[in-house]
Symmetry: C2
Subunit: 224 residues, 2 copies
């Protein structure tokens, strides 16, 4: 319910009327640096599309490559099956950063970073482009792993659906900092502050029977 001003930055992506943050506009940001950082930090996203006039929101893995955000075919499958392919999507990637505990319920809030990308995704069909896209996906999470894998067959590559969405209509929204209480509430005798939340990793679990000399990859650097 509260906010603190978002630092103004040069707009690399001028917001369309549609992408403009409607509520708490001072939390909005439209610069590519902010949008890219959120897309890169979020390991997965939610893709919304419209099926026979109804909204459908599906989680999927995404990754950014320059001026496009790529995402995996599981979200696309439903789109294809329902005839929604070719239609517009809203891809939203969000990270919860903390629970903001105020002295009254009304000023409780959450710290978060969220990026929204609007557009019509296009399937990456050219084999070399698709290969590069998939390599980029693995490398963004586990650098160096792609070259160590059994290379994909032509059939596997064909069976993998990768969609590409240009970063032309996008916005970010975020909240940082502690609660913003009413001045007269500051002495209310209850703990107030932020409980930070983040994604973290636990020790890797090897497959049964794995050769003991094979070592697990380092976890993505932002999850350590």
């Amino acid at each position: 319910m509260d906010s603190e001003p978002t630092a103004a930055r040069p707009n690399a992506v001028p917001p369309s009327d549609f992408a403009r943050v409607r509520r708490l506009g001072k939390r909005g940001a439209y610069d590519r640096e902010t949008i890219d950082a959120i897309l890169d930090a979020a390991p997965f996203c939610h893709v919304g599309h419209v099926v026979r006039g109804r909204p459908v929101v599906i989680p999927t893995l995404h990754w950014r490559a320059g001026d496009t955000v790529l995402f995996h075919g599981n979200a696309a499958s439903r789109m294809l099956e329902t005839g929604a392919a070719g239609g517009e999507v809203c891809l939203t990637a969000s990270l919860l950063d903390g629970f903001v505990l105020a002295r009254t319920g009304f000023h409780h809030s959450a710290n978060y970073r969220s990026a929204m990308v609007f557009g019509v995704p296009v399937a990456v069909t050219e084999p070399e482009a698709k290969l590069a896209a998939l390599a980029g996906f693995t490398e963004r999470l586990f650098p160096g792993r792609w070259a160590t894998l059994r290379p994909p067959t032509a059939q596997e590559l064909k069976a993998t659906l990768v969609l590409s969405l240009p970063l032309t209509e996008a916005s970010a929204k975020l909240r940082r900092g502690g609660p913003i209480d009413e001045p007269e509430d500051l002495d209310w005798p209850v703990w107030a502050g932020v409980v930070p939340v983040r994604l973290s990793v636990d020790p890797p679990v090897p497959e049964p029977g794995l050769a003991p000399d094979l070592t697990p990859p380092d976890p993505p650097r932002w999850l350590r």
Copy 2:
């Protein structure tokens, strides 16, 4: 890309044709126990709605109360402003549980739990019901905290928008377990297994000047 069969359970929520999981149907689940557990474990969700024919997906905080899932007004504000209020939403709450690392790119996957709820949300307007809803929201994260807060004023209560969505059309989808590689790939010399991911909390950060005898609440039990 892989899956393992989801345990069959009695269907408390018969899936509509629309809510039925389209892809990898064996990952689908429709029982309320599974759906409720995911909604209760996810601290936030993504709400999709349709604005002038275009999908819009917004992150927001949600909480379940019996047979309804409640969510906060920030998602609703845009719906109200754009005239989408009264329309259908798709509320999807997802938890990433791990990166699944196979011997080839094609069989890499993610472990996750995701619940989707379809329906037309209704604003909770009756003051006592709204008060109970907000108390439930705080209590689900920080049990015992609501009673310690400065009680909301009538004006604060009025300014808070809570939407309620019945759990009548819902489904869950999840993946668990290790990678499912081709038998001929099992000896490929690369580490394979699962890198578990979870939401975790860091030590609470008190507000500056907070009385030192005030102690922070325990973090939500599933985030410790």
